[in-house]
């Protein structure tokens, strides 16, 4: 029997159904034993390093636990209440969402424009440009963070030295030390760093649009802008929803960049939920770790992300359904 061939279901005799079902199950397992064997390592690692930590953090979140030994001090929802009452958490929460939203609202449209330009088959060296724009994506974020910290330093940093020497500014700009500038600076670096990812998604989407549509539009007298808004955008809309979701979720975790560039400072101006959690779990201000509290913060954040994703998916479904009805 080949893969995908529908199997005939033989009704089990009355009174013997459970045994037959079990026998059939074992038979199926035996038949596909190599498949199970090959999947097993992934299941083991997934259980050990993803599933177990997730479940454990739910458990820990109900305890006042410093990470040493087994948690015993059960405090119910105490950690959740403390997290919810901490303005520092909500500041980190807002900054994290700001990261994701900035990428959706600024990076994605820019990436689309660049992708459209790079999709022009008559553009010389377009593969080189694609490569150059994608190099930051595959570069280590921590390295980029450290290099930018050095470049942007007001005292001896290359960027400020250049601006000062050319007379553009009279005193150095405190890119990462100012509460007003630190977050925008991090956002700019982050947008630059991950710019290649949505650009590649858009390029993939653009290449699915049949060239005939543009040719027909051209014959009908449509200009480039009209073609862009009347053909490119509608044709990209379905994949655009997926790209939006991916961009949003990918950029909800800017830990490595924030950690290496500002550690959430100055005075928490760039704090994100991940650095907030890290601080309570591994670099506690009080001297001893608070794993239970950090777990509660992580769970609250993941629940919020879950809600946002559900809204996004439902909106997408609604939009698709509306589009289908419109087509009818």
């Amino acid at each position: 029997m080949g893969y995908g061939t529908p199997q005939q279901t033989i009704p089990a005799p009355a009174g013997k159904a459970p045994f037959s079902r079990r026998a059939e199950l074992f038979k199926q397992i035996k038949k596909h034993r190599y498949h199970y064997l090959f999947v097993l390592p992934m299941l083991v690692f997934f259980s050990a390093f993803t599933l177990w930590p997730m479940l454990a953090s739910w458990y820990y979140s109900f305890f006042n636990w410093d990470g040493i030994g087994w948690p015993t001090d059960f405090i119910g929802l105490g950690n959740f209440r403390e997290v919810a009452a901490d303005p520092g958490f909500w500041n980190a929460f807002m900054n994290t969402f700001l990261f994701a939203l900035t990428h959706v609202l600024i990076q994605m449209p820019l990436a689309l424009v660049v992708a459209v330009i790079l999709n022009n088959q008559f553009l010389a060296g377009r593969n080189i440009y694609r490569l150059l724009l994608f190099v930051p994506v595959i570069s280590t974020t921590a390295v980029i963070g450290v290099i930018f910290s050095i470049l942007l330093n007001p005292l001896g940093g290359a960027v400020n030295e250049m601006l000062l020497n050319t007379g553009i500014i009279s005193e150095p700009i405190n890119f990462l030390g100012s509460t007003a500038l630190a977050l925008p600076t991090l956002l700019a670096v982050s947008v630059w760093k991950s710019f290649g990812t949505p650009m590649i998604y858009w390029l993939a989407g653009l290449q699915t649009i049949p060239a005939e549509l543009y040719e027909a539009a051209k014959i009908d007298g449509a200009g480039r802008i009209q073609s862009f808004f009347r053909i490119t955008i509608p044709m990209l809309a379905p994949i655009g929803l997926v790209i939006t979701l991916l961009t949003f979720i990918n950029n909800l975790d800017p830990f490595d960049l924030v950690r290496t560039m500002t550690e959430g400072g100055p005075v928490k101006a760039t704090d994100v939920v991940q650095t907030y959690i890290f601080r309570y779990a591994f670099e506690p201000e009080s001297g001893s770790s608070r794993y239970g509290f950090a777990s509660a913060a992580g769970i609250l954040f993941s629940l919020a992300v879950l809600v946002v994703v559900i809204i996004q998916v439902l909106t997408g479904k609604y939009a698709r359904r509306s589009g289908t009805k419109g087509a009818e």
């Binding site: 006042n64 410093d66 990470g67 040493i68 030994g69 901490d86 303005p87 520092g88 910290s149 330093n153 007001p154 005292l155 001896g156 940093g157 000062l164 005193e171 150095p172 405190n174 990462l176 030390g177 100012s178 509460t179 630190a182 560039m261 500002t262 550690e263 400072g265 100055p266 005075v267 928490k268 670099e283 201000e285 009080s286 001297g287 001893s288 608070r290 509290f293």
Partner: protein, 503 residues
């Protein structure tokens, strides 16, 4: 041929099985508390004559050479004590306390172990009954090896009045907050010596920054995290009105009144605020950590900063030949009325397990770890000051270290610990710390400096909230059966200008 191979396989298997069985079923007494061969055994006379006691020693391996150092030292010990066999078990710092907890939970605790994590961990090992009190083991000759006060009632080597460990390092090395200065820069701007008072410090920093025209700055701080910013506050604040401890932490208690008193640190915060508002502090300090400070200082862009003792060596790594000076941090213009506090001049480091079955042998090892010979070796290896001054004699000390010792002597005095009156405090001190209003006081101060806000009303507001938290936590502790009151936080007879030692 096949038969020959088969025989060889059988023989090999038998040898292997013999080895495995021997390993499994060999000396049943060969555990951590393994002792002599049992009477009547068939051991050779030579083996029965030497009764070897096995001691497991669990240690923290913080640096790559730590394990090798301790193994080497234990080899020296075992040569002198052939009746004791010490096995060194090294754990990385991050995993150490968890590994220790698990081993005790399984009744497989080591015979000797490090106390890693300061006073809280000392309390933990005591409360969990992992540690064997050492009072009965230490005779006068042993106690006399250490400086006065090392095992006093106020020393952290004691918990609930019992000695729980043998100290090795001088804790003042971690406590001192010196002023680092670039002699060449100070001389260039007309200063032959570092500033000694707050106003002298402000004047020198201002002059250097203004005349340095962006090439060099008079002063810098590390502001990337509130904790490293706290170094500047505690350094400049070490000469402030006595009676207040914890500038660097988040629990600032005035030990005269027993009240939380962030306000006591505000004169220093105000100085830092003014310096920052007038753009005297090097730009970008808000995002500097210790590494960036070392780079900028070693590059000659910063004339002065206040830091920790360990930073001297890091700066030398970047610029070995720089003309670096180390001095006591400036004190108020009216003169010193307090010191950088240390509640103890000795911290317990090596402890004996209460579960050990070879306590006499374990004590022999502890006796060695508390010897001048070992402290000397430790100092030579780790380059960290040890408690016994005699152990460091004859070993060449770097000029930086010599200066650091002078600054330690000049700026640090023993003060009561918050828990000196009543060690029940340790049972809920973590709850107080966790329950402190957020953002914590260090962050409030850092923000005040950065955003040019008057720190006094901020501190007053924080003090009111923090004192409420302390009252609530004391009440909760009382409700839970812990005896403690606000009065226990007060030390009205303490003179902050003198060492506080209760023998």
């Amino acid at each position: 041929m096949t038969t020959k191979r088969s025989w060889m396989r059988t023989l090999t298997t038998m040898f292997a099985l013999t080895g495995v069985l021997a390993g499994c079923g060999g000396n049943n007494n060969a555990g951590s508390s393994g002792t002599a061969a049992p009477a009547g055994s068939s051991a050779t006379p030579a083996a029965t004559a030497a009764v070897v006691q096995k001691v497991n020693f669990s240690m923290v391996s913080a640096r790559p050479g730590d394990e090798a150092f301790y193994k080497e030292q234990m080899d020296i010990f075992m040569k002198a004590n052939p009746d004791v066999k010490v096995t060194v078990i090294a754990n990385p710092t991050e995993q150490y306390n968890n590994a220790l907890q698990l081993s005790f939970a399984a009744n497989e605790g080591p015979d000797i172990f490090f106390i890693e994590g300061g006073q809280p961990q000392a309390r933990t090992v005591y409360d969990n009954k992992w540690v064997e009190p050492l009072d009965s083991y230490m005779d006068d000759a042993f106690l006399a090896r250490f400086p006065e006060g090392s095992f006093s009632r106020t020393s952290q080597t004691r918990v609930n009045g019992e000695i729980i460990g043998v100290p090795v390092r001088d804790p003042r090395f971690d406590k001192v907050r010196p002023l680092y200065y670039n002699k060449a820069i100070l001389e260039q701007f007309g200063y032959s010596e570092p500033p000694k008072t707050h106003s002298g410090f402000v004047e020198a920093a201002t002059k250097i920054t203004k005349e340095g025209k962006g090439q060099v700055y008079g002063f810098a701080m590390m502001g990337k995290a509130p904790a490293v910013f706290g170094l500047s506050v505690s350094g400049l604040g070490s000469g402030l009105e006595g009676g207040v401890i914890g500038y660097e932490g988040n629990t600032i208690i005035n030990l005269k009144s027993g009240q939380f008193s962030a306000k006591s640190a505000t004169p220093v915060v105000e100085i830092l605020r003014q310096l920052n508002a007038q753009k005297i502090v090097a730009p970008g300090w808000e995002n500097w950590d210790t590494a960036q400070m070392h780079q900028q200082f070693a590059a000659g862009r910063v004339a002065m900063f206040i830091g920790a003792a360990w930073q001297a060596e890091e700066i030398r790594k970047l610029n070995e030949g720089m003309d670096m000076g180390i001095a006591a941090a400036p004190v108020p213009d009216a003169g010193r009325s307090g010191y950088r506090d240390t509640p103890t001049i000795a911290e317990p480091r090596y402890a004996m397990s209460s579960q050990s079955k070879v306590k006499e042998a374990a004590w022999k090892v502890l006796d060695f770890l508390g010897s001048q010979e070992f402290e000397r070796a430790n100092y030579e290896y780790a380059k960290e000051l040890v408690l016994m001054p005699a152990a460091m004699e004859g070993i060449e000390m770097s000029a930086d270290m010599q200066q650091m010792v002078k600054v330690m002597d000049e700026t640090i005095r023993m003060a009561p610990a918050v828990n000196t009156n009543n060690q029940n405090y340790d049972q809920f001190s973590k709850s107080i710390s966790d329950a402190m209003p957020k953002p914590k006081i260090q962050e409030v101060f850092l923000k005040a400096v950065m955003s040019n806000e008057d720190p006094v009303p901020l501190a007053e507001e924080y003090d009111a909230k923090a004192n409420k938290v302390i009252d609530e936590q004391i009440k909760m502790a009382n409700d839970g059966g812990i005896t403690f009151s606000r009065e226990d936080l007060k030390y009205p007879d303490w003179d902050p200008m003198q060492d506080y030692i209760i023998e």
